[in-house]
């Protein structure tokens, strides 16, 4: 908390510029909960989510007291599979693949190959970036400047890649042909499909407190492994066509899954038993689930046809949050850790939307007609 500027909140309605070095910041009243965003003229965003604005005077005189609020930088990874604008053989096809943002999604830079079909990307604790792509698992160890396809012809149609949070050399890939695992940062991969009747796997999640405990979302339901993927056993979740499995960020025993036709299911005992946490009868296809990192029990779901749903009570009831959302097929969601009021929603063929009020309102952000398949942050 050192070097923290103190401002009052809310800031004045007419935002005044604040200088810090070369940057001129404006404080934006994006939140009703005592948070502010600072936008700079050079694209730098101060992660002001937790700053407390105590002095209008500071703004008015254009001074920030040692304005490096929080030095941590959040990098968002957006995987764009394709674009509806794409035409076979056309010379002006939009660039797809990986885009990154370091200003909470305000601006984006493309990284890597221009026309790679990227499903999902995430960065490990060692800074290595992993991309799940149609042509294998891609790895960059220099922030996305150069890449290597770590897999050969045996591994293809990779839908998710997940890095062990403790041992970043261990990575799992969920593919159309099952689960594959590397323990040497992608130099070699092993198939880990023992126990699956059908191998098609959309997602895999690693328990952040126990790297040997895994859950896989498969065509036939949720599978659980307690030995790092060596053996899988189905769980009794009564949900097939599992598209996503995630661990609750607040309670390690809780896992959530989104399915093709069975809505949301949740386990509160580390995956032993599962119950429905349905959104209601209308939209039972759930591609993505995200959480408010600050408030336990606030859950978001991206659906096919219903846009974004939000629950404030741990999945007991849900409310549709679609104002401003012009595409109702939401495949990826990201709640900014530093400011949970900022949420990104990636749609299929509608591009990326951004909310600055916890999902109440959405504004189109980028990737016109793009298929924003995956979002992650580190």
């Amino acid at each position: 908390m050192m070097n923290q500027a103190q401002f009052t909140y809310p800031p004045p309605p007419n935002l005044l510029p604040v200088k810090e070095g070369k940057n001129v910041f404006r404080v934006c009243p994006s939140s009703q909960e005592g948070r502010a965003e600072l936008f700079s003229t050079e694209g730098v965003v101060k992660h002001a989510a937790r700053c407390v604005v105590t002095s209008c005077l500071a703004l008015m005189v254009g001074v920030i007291f040692d304005a490096h609020l929080f030095a941590q930088q959040e990098t968002i990874y957006m995987s764009v599979l394709n674009s509806r604008k794409h035409r076979l053989g056309a010379l002006d096809n939009p660039t797809v693949g990986l885009f990154v943002s370091t200003d909470a999604g305000l601006t984006w830079r493309h990284k890597g190959w221009e026309y790679t079909r990227a499903f999902y990307t995430e960065s490990g604790p060692d800074g290595t970036i992993w991309s799940a792509c149609g042509n294998g698992v891609h790895r960059s160890t220099d922030g996305g400047a150069t890449w290597r396809i770590t897999t050969g012809w045996e591994i293809t149609e990779v839908l998710k890649v997940k890095v062990n949070p403790v041992n970043p050399a261990t990575v799992y890939a969920a593919t159309g042909y099952g689960i594959f695992k590397t323990t040497d940062s992608g130099e070699t991969w092993q198939e880990k499909n023992a126990g699956f009747r059908k191998a098609f796997t959309s997602d895999v999640v690693i328990d952040r407190t126990n790297g040997s405990l895994l859950f896989a979302g498969t065509e036939e339901g949720i599978y659980r492994s307690t030995d790092g993927g060596n053996r899988w056993l189905p769980v009794d979740a009564k949900a097939k066509g599992v598209r996503t499995v995630v661990q609750d960020p607040h309670r390690t025993q809780i896992f959530w899954a989104g399915t093709d036709d069975d809505g949301v299911v949740v386990s509160r005992d580390a995956g032993k038993t599962w119950k429905s946490a349905n959104l209601g009868p209308q939209h039972l296809t759930v591609y993505t689930i995200a959480f408010d990192p600050a408030v336990s029990g606030v859950v978001y779901a991206g659906t096919h046809g219903g846009g974004v749903y939000r629950s404030l009570n741990d999945g007991r009831t849900w409310k549709q949050c679609t104002q401003g959302l012009n595409n109702m097929v939401v495949h990826s969601l990201l709640v900014m850790p530093s400011n949970p009021r900022i949420i990104l929603a990636g749609t299929l063929n509608g591009g990326l939307y951004r909310s600055t009020d916890g999902g109440d309102h959405w504004v189109f952000n980028s990737q016109e007609e793009g298929q924003v398949w995956g979002l992650s942050v580190r």
Binding site: L81, N82, R84, L88, A90, L91, D92, N93, W113, E114, Y115, T116, R117, G134, N135, G136, R139, T146, W147, R148, I149, G152, W153, T156, E157, L159, T175, G176, Y177, R197, K198, A199, F200, S202, E219, G241, R243, D260, T285, Y287, H304, G305, V329, H331, L348, N349
Partner: protein
């Protein structure tokens, strides 16, 4: 290699390419030499931007400056890339690099470092991609990971490409192609295979490529009729399905089989849809020579024959327990027509063509067939990893027609066939929830005759070919541009078709008389879904949807089909040995020992 060496090598290549007659040409195909030179000449005059056009221009010594500009553009335009690019680029480089300025050669090399060479997601994509990678890694060995677009070293790239090509050759020669017998995608297999044959330094890989070229051509030859790729296909575009000589494979038939006799590029009625790609130049410049036995198999239609074969469904990744279920294919070939079919069901997504009769004609649209225009996200999700509720819309965007009720290609779980020689029974049991609850039939407008007989048969004549078509249920005719669309909206449905010809039946009237002596028996069809029919040759066929196929009282087991079985091509599944026979000639491809025996 020094300049003199390079010039010598270049001269030798040019001599081999342009004057192979000096080095001996296989008997019976001397006209091939004329056709290939004609093709190089024609393509060299084209302005379409592509590696094949560049290659033709250089070899013909025509428009070299323009060709250089074109090549420069191909190597600097970063929006071009992927699997179509990789094999064509390296093929062009390996053919021409001695004649290209160093700057262009460097740019081609650079493309393999900087360009997005995406692998794609279909069998033909991978053949093109790995052929390109194999040859590029062979050409630029011992280079580290930083020198390649995918971060792999030359050795890693070579090993991966070689590994995949070997397993593709193995599965194709033992259980069949996934994208089998496609009049359109034929080019995306034969062209990289010939490129691999031309430039692979490893004699084993070179031999394998030669054997694969033999296999692909032989597989085409047994179902070839005057330029038409007949019968059922894994994948084809509707424009080609309703106009078979418009398919890209027809140009390859012209080049290698000498049929049709027309120069297709000059015939707007048969204008090959992919003509702009001019991939055939790879055949025209290749040192590969079609074995004479395949030429004979492709062109001798003096005796009718039955040919059966098995192929495989492309990789099923969801909603199935078998990764590559078998496809059973039946073709009856005569000098006038071919009647061919797949067993029905979902064997390929999107572009399946299940059955047809294709006849010899100097008119376009020389085919008759039916289908159920099925589509579903679940069908696509069997083969693609994306969301099933999103896939139909996505595929429709590329193929334009996937969800269209009037489409002319479809795989439907509600369609099944049973063929015996020149008779076929096609049954439909369309689900109540099907998006398009009707079946359609394609009848060209340019038929010489189309008669609705009071017996219930519809008779058609196209030149010397006769078709008898018996619908089980009421139907209507819809007039369209080049065809009549026969449509029936009954969910429990079917047609029985017999095909004949001047040679088999005499006059059209005689054919009609023979046919009208009988008609299908289908009492209680809506419950039993069974049809019985005695062909005009006296063969009794009994077929039940989702049930047995019975011929003359004996059950026909499709699983008994061999890999290839017919007078010209034989082999057993998983044996790895395919034998071609023609009169007293034999040519056996033994993929186990990578050898050819004659």
């Amino acid at each position: 290699m020094g300049l003199v060496g390079a010039m010598k090598r270049s001269s030798v290549i040019l001599c081999l390419i342009l004057f192979p007659a000096l080095f001996g040409v296989s008997q019976g195909q001397s006209s091939f030499e004329q056709r290939r030179l004609r093709l190089i000449d024609v393509i060299s005059g084209e302005r379409d931007k592509g590696f094949f056009t560049v290659t033709a221009k250089f070899l013909a010594g025509k428009d070299k400056e323009f060709a250089l500009q074109m090549l420069d553009s191909l190597t600097t335009d970063e929006s071009i890339g992927g699997m179509f690019y990789s094999y064509a680029a390296i093929g062009c480089y390996l053919t021409l690099h001695d004649q290209l300025p160093d700057s262009l050669n460097r740019k081609i090399r650079q493309a393999f470092r900087d360009r997005t060479m995406y692998r794609g997601d279909t069998e033909n994509h991978w053949v093109m991609y790995y052929t390109g990678i194999y040859l590029a890694a062979q050409t630029w060995p011992n280079e580290d990971r930083s020198q390649w677009f995918n971060g792999k070293s030359s050795e890693e790239n070579f090993e991966e490409a070689e590994g995949w090509l070997n397993q593709w050759i193995k599965i194709t020669s033992t259980t069949g192609q996934g994208e089998f017998d496609s009049p359109t995608y034929f080019i995306t297999f034969i062209t990289p295979v010939l490129t691999l044959y031309e430039f692979a330094k490893d004699p084993v890989m070179k031999r394998k490529a030669q054997m694969m070229a033999d296999l692909i051509f032989a597989d085409f030859a047994v179902e070839h009729l005057k330029g038409n790729y007949c019968g059922g296909h894994s994948r084809d575009y509707p424009e080609d399905i309703i106009n078979p000589l418009a398919a890209p494979a027809a140009l390859w038939a012209w080049l290698y089989f000498g049929e049709p006799k027309l120069e297709l590029w000059q015939e707007t009625r048969f204008r090959p849809r992919h003509r702009g790609g001019w991939e055939t130049v790879i055949g025209a410049i290749s040192s590969y020579r079609l074995p004479d036995i395949i030429f004979q198999i492709a062109t001798d239609r003096s005796k009718p024959y039955v040919h059966t074969e098995t192929k495989r469904v492309r990789n099923v990744i969801r909603f199935g327990l078998e990764k590559n279920p078998p496809v059973f294919k039946y073709t009856y070939m005569t000098s006038h027509y071919a009647l061919g079919s797949l067993q029905g069901g979902i064997l390929q997504p999107i572009q399946q063509h299940t059955w047809d009769v294709t006849y010899v004609s100097d008119k376009p649209n020389n085919t008759i067939f039916t289908l159920h225009p099925f589509y579903s996200g679940k069908e696509l999700a069997m083969f693609f990893p994306e969301e099933q509720k999103f896939l139909a819309d996505e595929v429709d965007r590329y193929h334009k027609i996937y969800t269209n009720p009037n489409k002319w290609n479809s795989s439907s779980p509600y369609e099944q066939t049973f063929q015996h020689r020149n008779a076929i029974v096609i049954l439909y049991s369309i689900g109540k929830d099907a998006m398009h609850p009707h079946i359609d039939g394609f009848f060209p407008k340019n038929l010489d005759e189309r008669v609705e007989d009071t017996s219930g048969w519809i008779f058609c004549r196209a030149g010397a070919t006769y078709v008898a078509f018996y619908p089980l249920k009421p139907y209507q005719w819809i007039e369209e541009d080049v065809n009549w669309r026969w449509r029936s909206k009954e969910l429990k449905n079917g047609v029985v078709v017999e095909v004949g010809s001047l040679d088999e039946d005499g006059s059209f009237e005689q054919f009609k008389q023979r046919i009208t002596k009988g008609k299908p028996e289908f009492k209680g069809f809506d419950k039993k879904l069974t049809v019985q029919y005695e062909t005009r040759s006296g063969h009794h066929m009994k077929f039940t949807f989702n049930g047995e196929r019975i011929l003359n009282g004996k059950q026909v087991k499709l699983t008994d089909y061999r890999f290839f079985n017919g007078p010209f091509l034989q082999g057993d599944r998983r044996s790895g040995v395919i034998k071609m026979t023609y009169k007293d000639k034999v040519r056996a491809l033994d993929f186990n020992t990578v050898s050819i025996k004659e």
